[in-house]
């Protein structure tokens, strides 16, 4: 399928560097005056609702609806925070957007802030994006200089201050309220909900947290309309999506496609198939938190509903392809190790469960597994789901359940043989 690029249209422009001049020459900062001068904030929120845009960070929550939760007439200021904490394993699209076309994001932020009545916005950028943060800072400086930020933007009366705020290395700061805690200068520990950020967010004020890619869509919705956006891909998963494809593929990278694309097309056509002609064994469709899929799922289209129906999720759009040489127990160990490392430690089930999960999988991978370990793992996972302040605990549990669902014999083999049959495979 050849898809007319929206978010990555800039890539077709030779020598595009993403600075203000490049962005303007490519038609940038036309949505902003249109929004400020021709649309009321309420109408903008409506337009985004009608477009069907859903969050691109992982949760897929309808963006317009989220904006609509901001209470009217609150005495407290409203904040917009751009979540640029991209840390979901397998995902690298936000990094590309901020490094290569920062003004698209800036413009999206200004329009979105206008829509929700926000006059001070922040970009929470993960600490490891040293270069990305600098690029954003430079773009913001350019935007201020041109009057796209600051007081009385384009004479509209609307003012917005935008600040880049760097994180310092913690996946849990990608969780909305963990991010807000970190932005407030504290440990990035998610908050019990309710209250939700729309009611009590940053500094206990109404706040919208949106992903980078989500916000980058907003200028396009403004210039080309909600109907156009809604017509891209399936009705309930409208709009272009950036899929980060990596792993055992010939052409890893970010691919902008409608969500009607199938997993098969994504991996074989766009990703170039598996090197060496090897067979597909497993594929994670939406970042490491997403339950794994297998060859039997290749004809699923990559929209939120279809993936959920298949027992997985759209998540962050991070697609990790694994071929037949992959040890799924080792994959489980690596994924479990990640959540063990990243748990903030507040909730008992997550703090202790992510560790127990990891230690058990490590034991199995190293040939010290016991027969009862597999059902124990499943019970651990069940006890970790749906009972904590945030869903990191669920994100740790669901993938493991899926590896056991589709590859149980492989786990049993490790236990019976007291060794990893793929031994020598890059083990630490």
């Amino acid at each position: 399928m050849v898809f007319e690029k929206v978010l990555t249209a800039y890539q077709e422009i030779p020598n595009y560097r993403g600075g203000m001049d490049d962005y303007l020459a490519a038609g940038g900062y036309q949505a902003l005056p249109k929004a400020l001068k021709e649309m009321q904030p309420a109408a903008l929120v409506d337009e985004v609702k009608k477009s069907g845009l859903r969050g691109r960070g992982g949760a897929g929550f309808p963006t317009g609806m989220k904006w609509g939760f901001i209470p009217k007439g609150s005495p407290r200021p409203t904040y917009l925070v751009c979540n640029s904490d991209e840390s979901e394993p397998g995902t690298f699209k936000d990094r590309m957007l901020i490094e290569e076309d920062p003004h698209q994001l800036v413009e999206g932020i200004v329009i979105s802030s206008y829509a929700i009545g926000c006059h001070q916005a922040f970009i929470y950028c993960r600490g490891e994006f040293v270069h990305g943060a600098r690029v954003l800072q430079r773009a913001i400086g350019e935007a201020y200089a041109r009057g796209y930020l600051g007081a009385n933007i384009l004479g509209s009366g609307f003012s917005l201050e935008l600040t880049v705020h760097r994180g310092a290395g913690a996946y849990i700061c990608g969780e909305e309220t963990g991010l807000l805690e970190s932005l407030e200068g504290k440990r990035g520990q998610p908050r019990p909900k309710p209250p939700f950020p729309a009611v009590s967010g940053l500094y206990r004020s109404p706040t919208v947290v949106n992903n980078v890619e989500t916000l980058c869509n907003v200028p396009h919705i403004v210039t080309r309309g909600a109907a156009w956006f809604a017509g891209i891909g399936p009705a309930k998963s409208a709009g272009p999506r950036l899929f980060s494809v990596s792993g055992h593929v010939n052409r890893p990278g970010n691919y902008e496609l409608p969500m009607s694309v199938t997993l098969r097309e994504l991996i074989l056509e766009h990703g170039g198939g598996i090197p060496g002609g090897r067979r597909l064994k497993a594929v994670i469709p939406g970042g490491s938190s997403a339950p794994v899929l297998t060859g039997q799922h290749l004809d699923i289209s990559m929209d939120f509903e279809s993936l959920a129906a298949a027992g997985s999720m759209g998540g962050s759009g991070g697609v990790v392809v694994m071929d037949e040489t992959t040890c799924m127990v080792r994959v489980g160990e690596i994924v479990a190790r990640f959540y063990h490392h990243e748990s903030c430690g507040q909730c008992t089930q997550c703090r202790e469960g992510t560790a127990w999960l990891h230690k058990t999988l490590r034991r199995i991978e190293h040939g010290q597994g016991r027969k009862e370990d597999l059902d124990l793992l499943l019970d651990m996972c069940d006890n970790m789901k749906g009972k904590t302040i945030c869903v990191l605990s669920d994100a740790a549990a669901m993938p493991i359940e899926s590896y056991l669902k589709y590859f149980r014999e492989e786990f049993e083999l490790h236990i019976r043989e007291r060794a990893c049959p793929f031994a020598g495979q890059d083990a630490p």
Partner: protein, 168 residues
Amino acid sequence: MFSEATKKRFDEMVGRYPEGRSALIPILHEVQAEAGHLSPEAVEWVAAYLGLSRADVMSVASFYDMLELEPVGRHMIYVCQNLTCALLGAERLIRHLEQRLGIRMGETTPDGLISLKRMECLASCGTAPAIQVDGIYYERMTPEKLDDLLLKLRTGSLPDPRTLDTPA
């Protein structure tokens, strides 16, 4: 403990936020950039500056992977150990680094030049296996490229990622 100019920069950072405490992590980044790591004295200074208890600031600083409470080497090498990088050879890179430098991950070379750290996903899966050196990405790494990188680090420069040599 810090120069007037630095203090002024901190004041400006605090001023960006409706609540000054938000400047804590950005300030800790600055302090670490200048001093190499966050000593107890530095933590104490920052706590006093922001009107927080020392345990509070220590609690925040110790939460985050990038903030170092112990001295580290002049150059920090992060190696992603997560899924795609692991599938594409991260552990081999790690073994290579440990063998070349004679230290384990999490340690610093005796001459204080290089520290090694296992990190989680660096959002570079498309160009795995990936590492970062002092915040700069070096992607599609191989043991050979590592050797070239280490060589160049010893001469005191942080090489342009595009110029790492791979033998034919």
